[in-house]
């Protein structure tokens, strides 16, 4: 078997079970939005460790840079200015969220992917793209509830944050967590991260953020990237973080139980035709028709 830390739990377009005799520690990254200063050290660390350099873009008038996730920018700080009377008494709040793959326990990308082994979920919870198996169809984008994967214009393969699976495999924290100067990005076992989040939430509540809480949405089975939010009741304030994310019912319908049934139906039509032929016999021109037609011809 491979490294224990890379044991596979789920594999795209694979209908049999993955090796599952070992239980691996579930890991998680915790992003404490309230202590993030928006320095983008995580973005720099991400491109450095993963050795990817996005094209230099242009300033669009806001701090977001690059403006969006791309095949070469796997994490992006998103800046939101919020001035709501019901949230913070009309005081300006600058909400900064490090966006990237959430590493869902129930990953929509993996569910939608038609290429065997192009998307895997390790037993530790990391959802990883294996681009050598990717066929470039973009179904992962269709399946993702967080709008994360991006298809490269260069090679037509899908890319996203790997949670530094190569680092995690050898007991290291992801590059972004290592680089964060304020400790806003923590990494460890999922249960440790939840405990740590509890402390942070308690602190935030003491300081007047009554609605502070953990973002670990149940709709996708929980995530392996979690946020501590000061306004956990309003995740959409953080640049449209979905309030109740889940795999779209359309995607579930598209990739769910209907497909094996439809495959069986197609098989039944083919086999039904064969047995119809065997049991009813061919529909041949009768002798009578031949005689009549001949008679009519000679008239």
């Amino acid at each position: 078997m491979a490294l224990q830390s890379l044991d596979i739990k789920q594999r795209s377009a694979t209908t049999t079970s993955a090796p599952s005799v070992r239980q691996t520690l579930e890991v998680a990254k915790l992003i404490d939005v309230s202590t993030c200063i928006g320095c983008k050290a995580c973005q720099a660390a991400c491109m450095e460790w993963n050795d990817i350099r996005d094209e230099v873009g242009s300033n669009s008038g806001v701090y977001d840079n690059p403006a969006d996730l791309t095949a070469k920018s796997w994490t992006v700080m998103r800046f939101a200015e919020v001035e709501l009377s019901d949230v913070s008494g009309g005081r300006l709040e600058w909400l900064i969220r490090k966006d990237g793959c959430m590493h869902c326990a129930d990953p929509g990308c993996l569910k939608a992917c038609p290429a065997p082994g192009a998307i895997v979920q390790y037993a530790n919870g990391i959802v990883d793209f294996h681009e050598e198996n990717c066929i470039g169809c973009g179904y992962c984008i269709t399946g993702c509830p967080f709008n994360i994967p991006r298809i490269s214009k260069e090679d037509n393969k899908a890319y996203k944050c790997s949670l530094c699976s190569d680092r995690v495999a050898v007991g290291q924290a992801p590059a972004c967590a290592k680089a964060c100067p304020t400790g806003a990005i923590q990494f460890g076992s999922k249960s440790d991260m939840k405990d740590y989040a509890e402390k942070r939430i308690g602190d935030l509540k003491e300081r007047g953020y009554a609605k502070a809480g953990l973002y670990d949405p149940a709709g996708v089975g929980g995530t392996h990237v979690m946020y501590v939010l000061h306004h956990a009741d309003r995740p959409e304030l953080y640049n449209g973080l979905p309030t109740n994310p889940g795999i779209s019912p359309l995607v579930s319908l598209w990739k769910g139980f209907a497909k094996p049934l439809a495959s069986l139906a197609i098989g039944a039509v083919a086999l039904g035709s064969l047995f119809h032929y065997v049991m009813k016999g061919p529909n041949e021109v009768s002798k009578e028709s031949e005689r009549e037609a001949e008679k009519e011809e000679s008239q």
């Binding site: 179904y139 984008i141 269709t142 298809i151 598209w254 497909k259 083919a270 529909n283």
Partner: protein, 206 residues
């Protein structure tokens, strides 16, 4: 090449060629499409040089088929207008399937079943083309809700189309003397008289 001067011409060479172009495209589309439909069929992508090639080729073959399907639609649409007799034929399709066609109403060039199959495949083709454009990620990027809807519609219409064409092909095999119309364009007089009596009268004047 004339096989028998008494045979009746059912299809012109242009009509036959058009049908074969659509038929070959359909087979390529069904095989490459099934590869993405369910993991059990993924090995079919190897027929096209692997998953990535199947993904690249499928939509282009789709556009190609749609174009020739439109030509075929224009050729045959008037012959497929449903009539009262067709509806009666369809209501008694059970007898036909059971292998007893003696009491079936007289049919023109196409029977009710063939016409129903024609219109059902037209509907499927339209749905497949529109939904296929929506999910053609390499060329288009519509809003995600539309893409998800398109993916479902494409899968449903594809299953319906495959089932329809299986029935279409089997019907041609089952009714002996039919396949040659697709190859040479002709059928025997006896065949026409038995299966499409009204058309037989029309072309022979008997």
């Amino acid at each position: 090449m004339i096989r028998d001067p008494k045979d009746l011409q059912r299809y012109t060479p242009q009509e036959r060629a058009n049908h074969w172009v659509v038929g070959i495209s359909f087979i390529l589309l069904a095989l490459s499409g099934l590869a993405f439909f369910h993991p059990a069929f993924f090995p079919l992508s190897m027929l096209f040089g692997g998953g990535t090639w199947a993904r690249i080729l499928h939509p282009y073959i789709g556009v190609f088929m749609a174009f020739f399907f439109v030509l075929m639609f224009l050729r045959f649409r008037m012959l497929n207008v449903m009539t009262k007799t067709d509806k009666e034929w369809l209501s008694r399709i059970g007898e036909m399937v059971d292998g007893d066609d003696h009491n079936m109403p007289e049919q023109g060039k196409y029977n009710g079943g063939q016409k129903a199959m024609f219109w059902a495949s037209v509907v499927c083709m339209v749905l497949l083309l529109v939904s296929g454009v929506l999910i053609w990620r390499a060329q288009f990027a519509p809003p995600i809700g539309l893409v998800r809807f398109g993916a479902v519609v494409h899968a449903v219409a594809a299953v319906a189309m495959i089932a329809l064409i299986l029935i279409h092909a089997y019907a041609a095999i089952w009714v002996r003397g039919t396949i040659r119309a697709m190859w040479y364009g002709t059928v025997t007089r006896a065949w026409a008289r038995q299966h499409h009596r009204a058309w037989y009268r029309e072309v022979t004047g008997k």
